[in-house]
Amino acid sequence: MSLLAGPVLLAQVTVRGEIKSSGDNQPLVGVGIMEKGTMNGVVSDMDGKYTITVKGPEAVLVFSSIGFKTDEIAVGNQRTINVTMQEDQQLLDEVVVLGYSSKTRGEITSAVTVVSEEKLKDVVTSDLGQMLQGKVAGVSVVNSSGQPGSATSVRVRGTSSMNAPQEPLYVVDGIIGGSYDPNDVETVTVLKDAGSTGMYGAQANGGVIVITTKHAKTDKIQFNFKANVGVAMADFDRQKQMDSRQLYQYYREYYRDPETGLVDDVAYQMAAPKSVMETNTDWRGLIFRPALVQNYHLSLMGRSDKNSFYSGVSYYDEQGSIKFTDYKKLNVRSNNTYFLTKWLNLTSNINLYADMKNEPDDLLIFYVGGGIVWDNPFDENGNPRPFANAKDIFSRNPINPMIGYSNRDKDQREMKSYGLDYDFVVDMKILPWLSFVSQTRATLSTYVFDYHRTADVEYMHPGDQVEGEQTLTYGGISTNMFKVDHSWGNHSFTGLLGYEAQRTWNQNIYGEGKGLPYGLYVLSVASTAKDVRGTKSVAGMQSIISQANYNYAQRYFLTGSFRVDQSSTFNRDNRTAMFPSVSAAWVISNEEFFDSAAITNLKLKTSWGRTGMKDIGASKYLEMFAYNTQYDNNSSAVATQMANPDLKWEQTDQFNVGLELGITDRASFDVNWYRNKTNDLLVYRDLPPSGGFSSQWQNLGSVINTGFEFSMDVTPILTRDFRWDANFSISYNKNWLTGFGEGVVITKSNYNGLAQVYHDDAELYTWYMREYSGVDPDTGRHQWIDENGEKTFDFSSARFIEAGSPLIPWQGGVSTAFSWKNFRLSSSGNFVWGNLVYGRRRASSLGSWVGNSLLPSNEDKIWRHPGDIATIGSPKYVPSANIDTGGLVPGNYFKIRNVTLSYTFPKSIMKNYGLTLALSCDNLATFTTVWGADPEVAFHMWADDVLTGVAGQIQGLDYRYPNKRQYIFQVNFTF
């Protein structure tokens, strides 16, 4: 196809050839072949072949294609020119989607990280967050549960708020919010500084993650089928269980007289006769299993002059490592763009999903985790027996969790959600330099929860129960903007101006009851204790958005944006906020004076901007008397909230400076330093309770986050057959509070009495607890430090000290891939270093009689005789409430997230087909200082902990669904 026919001259020469890619030696479609200095050009066809007529032997052909290095070849006497294109690692021309706009990588002026599909999808999961783990400098992802379908928590550049949410804003295909299946994702762009997130104003304090789903790139219709099948097993990491004999030895210590050092075996055997060792119940074995994980994805894409389409269907089915738990997801996506006229494109995308999840009863893990190996949950016939009145049970709780577990119908907890997102985008060119873009998304989703328990199930609930809940959420967002794009000489200018409105409606209905007939489990059949709840809510926001970009000769870049947001979250007077940002970059390597063959990219960039946070829930500024209760069936209003008409946005001023360096196509480096100050923190602040309210949302103080990020991508070895790629990233973040005012000290404590303290110069979430001082070698008593700095045996006179924070200062990721011929071996891992987490010392203190069967860590040593240096003291003196600094442990770990070995069948065998087989292991190994099921700590253990402000407590295995290790076999087939 000739782009523009040149004048016919006698000296014309016709050149033919075939273009291949250096990577797989396969024909390359769509390579642009231009005669240098003219407008004459063609593109290569399906077989990589081209024919071009040039003006003569002096002509020079320029071969270019996205993702490859541009080649220039003089025609001379050649009539056939075959070219092998080298892949371009710099990808400076790669288009990076930034949400409202796109830029080439070279034009970017802020801290942005792009994660490609290939890097993203090494692990098999339904959650994008897990795919990002360890892959983006400055982004921490915590995956604290192995429960199928569980979501991760993601933090960009530290934690900037006490009580407001910290999750990043997700933008799918240019529109805020939306749903997607990870298999349909083409790229993920993480926007980290205000230079790029400023455009999202009040929603962007947690950073922005821009997700772009797939679209066709070539005319060829491409079919892809990918299957992952594997097996997952619970990973208990360093938390092991004792067997009967070990437990018997262990609790014998309970009867040691610390003064004489002698064990009173008579009393011990009265309390626990030796015969208890005849039972050795493997509690974990009773509920855990090797589980099947499957994911199938089918897609079809292609394009023509008139339209471009992509369709994908994904089915994900993960059994839980706990029997009777699972997660299934079906996702269907259809992306269609119609090129109606030269000036009008319409895009119509739809994504549909259905999620189904069976969760364990939240108490199952608690009771199994605390199971005593001496207790037999079954009677002589092998049926689960009640513990409530059994006399031969050591478990503290009179509960046999196996009853509810014996039959799926006895105790079921099912969650389903269904959703639909429909995007409609109009892209209209009004003038060569002016276009109008309107993008609208309608969203509908519903969540359904069903729970029932039969009366014989032994948990700490009396009788049977049925519960049902449904939530319907619907709404939309519409963005309408004018975009300008104009270049003259060395100047180029782009910009946009628009208006955005969003609104979401939510309604919820919940019912419960008791007294179920045999075998029936819906709300209607409940005969007593019926209760109904339900509510409705609306949230809305409108915004004006604008952005301008200017660059001179691809050397100097300047970007500015300005956004005005109005939200229903706040009182009329505080509803409006403005979010400006500016950023600039200087591409030194494009300067004329800069002449280096080795350094292909050298760029200095800086940005300043403001973002905000508003998501604390509706109406937090209002005085409220809530009607969501009753007294003896009479209407009752409870004073739940004190008015605070001054409540306003939490805003972050962000400054970033960075440097990019590219050395040929073999190495690239990106380093950024930032300082973010979040002002007017939304604090759920304690009040003196005697005034009638325990807390109130207020704006108070600031938090500063500062740190750096470094990432590098290198290809140390690159030969015809062998290639080695390596990526490494590391980041450091420091965090402290300021502006609280002199003498203002806020202490927050959670249900367990675990406390953290907030004041000027303290790190967020600074632990505040009694100071522990180890086990006294002489007496075996635990010791603490009192107000005078002296050691004391009296827990209640121990002093409180500030003792570090669970916030992560150092973290990073490393990944590497070796390719040899058609084999590829890759692995990735991540690490965390320098934080302090609180792990309950349940298993490592003999504080109470037969509490559980967990094996203390290798580092633990029991005190037996005077002089013993020990960590576990004599049980005689252990206080019941023992939250102290002895429970703090460094949260350091390094995890090998994934190892994959794959083989791609050569084209010579497969002809037009592509086939890759791969074997992989996710979560292969963990190296850690933490004793417990897993060193990854969810910031907030319970939903309410966000309000109490206490973060960083490790949930013991007795409370959480253990993480998993999985082995996967993958087939990827393309034609």
């Binding site: 009393a267 011990y268 309107s438 008397f625 009479n634 005697s690 009638g692 409430a881």
Partner: protein
């Protein structure tokens, strides 16, 4: 092109319209202003006070922090009535183990907070009434109800968080913070014990007038406070103040009220399963099945295992002895023994669970806890008379209770006469006040009286039985009960840590408040 432009205009316009209205009111709440405008606002706010007593508190992550659980546990678990049978990191540990109490402890904080929330709510109700120029009979009655609830919460606070009223020191001992009206949120210290009690009396006297002059249909529901509840609280408050004559006066008022009567031996054993329907009840917290607190119920710790209960606590040996539990003469005769459940061995301890907070509608964790019942008036009057030296009067009231609690038919079957159960001046060997306390203990165990009965009368707490209130090791501790010299057995009545600490949250945010003796700030 034209068509498309039209379409854009519609799109753009639609978006603008949708975004305009950002004034969004919550669907399940009203503001104070709206409450005043609502015709039912006043009643709803008052009902909210009762709901706050029975509900899981909003904004607390622990379900154990609801008001009623603390009302009973903080009173009874600190006394000599209950064995602590399973060491636990739960905050209730700090009730049994005085030395581990701290201003940070969650249950002490939540109970303090909820009482003040209720006080604030009554102040909002009183402010709403104060705005009216003329009160209807209903409104006047409701004002009395608000005043009573406020007085009740203040008295609950002062008996837990301050030293007991001692006429010698009440004028200087710290009482609790008083919030006079709904705008009173200043940072301030506690009033003295004397001032606190004086204010309680002031509230109650106005309440008595209001509820006498006003009227409401609520009087028929024992889930709501009534005139008799005002007088019962006056009787209790005067008893605490050692104003014996006033105590006798108000006790008598309630006893003479024909709306109330003591249960009999045949009805008493089932009394706690439907307190709200019984003639003896003056005021109870009405629980329906949907209000069931399940494993956080008062019963969850003291009732036998299963059905939401752990069965970790039980009757103490000294209480069982006082109840003549092992006596053949009283077994099957004294109906109060019927609440003692079968033995539940745990950790080498013989725990006897208690059924007083269970089995409404047959549910182990459900009942409607009693705040005032008529029997207390007899005991208050008896104790006042005992202190005055009116032995005969005191014994008369005690015998009235005995008469209604003993199954004399069963006694006769065993060969005991009715008279052999009654007290006479001749057969009393102990001090008459001790006798009243002993009888009251038998009657009111697990009903939040015993701790204050001891402390008011300057009696030490003697817990000479095994349990985790002392350093106990199962099966290792010798078979005999611990002697009086065993550490942790005897606690002097004036041991500072018997008074609960002012919660740290109050102290940190209201530096003016004085902490109790024995606690660091």
């Amino acid at each position: 092109m034209k068509k498309i432009f039209k379409y854009f205009v519609v799109l753009m316009g639609g978006a603008l319209l949708a975004g305009c209205d950002l004034d969004i009111a919550p669907a399940d709440s009203l503001t104070g202003e709206q409450m005043s405008a609502s015709p039912t606002g006043l009643v709803d706010i008052l009902n909210g006070c009762y709901a706050t007593m029975k509900d899981f508190p909003a904004g607390e992550s622990g379900e154990n922090y609801w008001w009623g659980r603390q009302y009973f546990q903080m009173a009874d678990f600190a006394s000599d009535d209950i064995v602590y049978g399973q060491k636990t990191p739960d905050d209730l540990n700090m009730i049994f183990r005085y030395d581990e109490r701290a201003p940070q402890t969650g249950n002490f904080r939540s109970f303090w907070s909820i009482n003040y929330k209720i006080i604030y709510t009554t102040n909002v109700a009183l402010a709403t009434i104060a705005k009216k120029e003329e009160l209807s009979a209903e409104e006047q009655y409701l004002r009395g109800e608000a005043l009573l609830i406020k007085a009740f919460c203040l008295h609950t606070l002062v008996k837990m968080y301050a030293k007991q009223y001692d006429p010698a020191t009440a004028a200087t001992d710290k009482g609790v913070i008083i919030r006079y009206d709904s705008t009173d949120a200043e940072l301030k210290d506690r009033e003295t014990v004397a001032e606190t009690y004086a204010y309680i009396l002031e509230l109650l006297k106005q309440a008595e007038t209001d509820m006498t002059e006003g009227s409401s249909e609520r009087v028929n529901n024992k889930g709501f406070a009534s005139l008799a509840a005002v007088q019962a609280l006056l009787s209790r408050v005067y008893l605490f103040m050692q104003d014996w004559d006033k105590c006798i006066e108000y006790s008598t008022k309630v006893i003479n009220n024909n709306n109330y009567a003591l249960e009999d031996a045949d009805s008493f054993p089932s009394y706690f399963t439907e307190t709200f329907n019984r003639k003896e009840t003056i005021w109870c917290m009405k629980f329906n099945q949907i209000d069931n607190k399940n494993s956080s119920a008062v019963a969850s710790m003291i009732y036998k295992p299963g059905g939401g209960c752990w069965g970790e606590e039980g009757y103490s040996k000294s209480l069982l002895d006082e109840m003549n539990f092992s006596s053949e003469k009283y077994q099957g005769v004294d109906t109060r023994i019927s609440f003692v459940c079968d033995i539940n061995p745990k950790n080498g301890l013989n725990l006897y669970p208690c059924a007083k907070h269970s089995m409404q509608d047959g549910i182990p964790t459900l009942n409607s806890p009693v705040l005032f019942r008529l029997a207390e008036m007899y005991f208050n009057r008896a104790e006042a008379n005992a202190h005055k030296g009116n032995k005969a009067e005191a014994i008369k009231d005690l015998n009235e209770i005995i008469k209604h609690r003993m199954d004399f038919a069963a006694a006769a079957a065993k060969g005991y006469t009715e008279n052999s159960y009654y007290l006479t001046e001749a057969n009393i060997k102990t001090d008459i006040v001790d006798l009243v306390l002993s009888q009251k203990r038998t009657e009111f165990s697990f009903e939040a009286h015993r701790l204050f009965d001891l402390l008011r009368n300057k009696k030490d707490i003697v817990r000479n039985y095994w349990g985790y209130h002392v350093d106990y090791v199962p099966n290792q501790s010798p078979g005999q009960e611990p002697g009086l010299s065993f550490p942790g057995v005897v606690t002097k009545y004036n041991y500072p840590r018997l008074v609960y600490p002012i919660p740290q949250q109050e102290k940190l945010n209201n530096p003016a408040v004085t902490q109790n003796e024995g606690y660091e700030n």
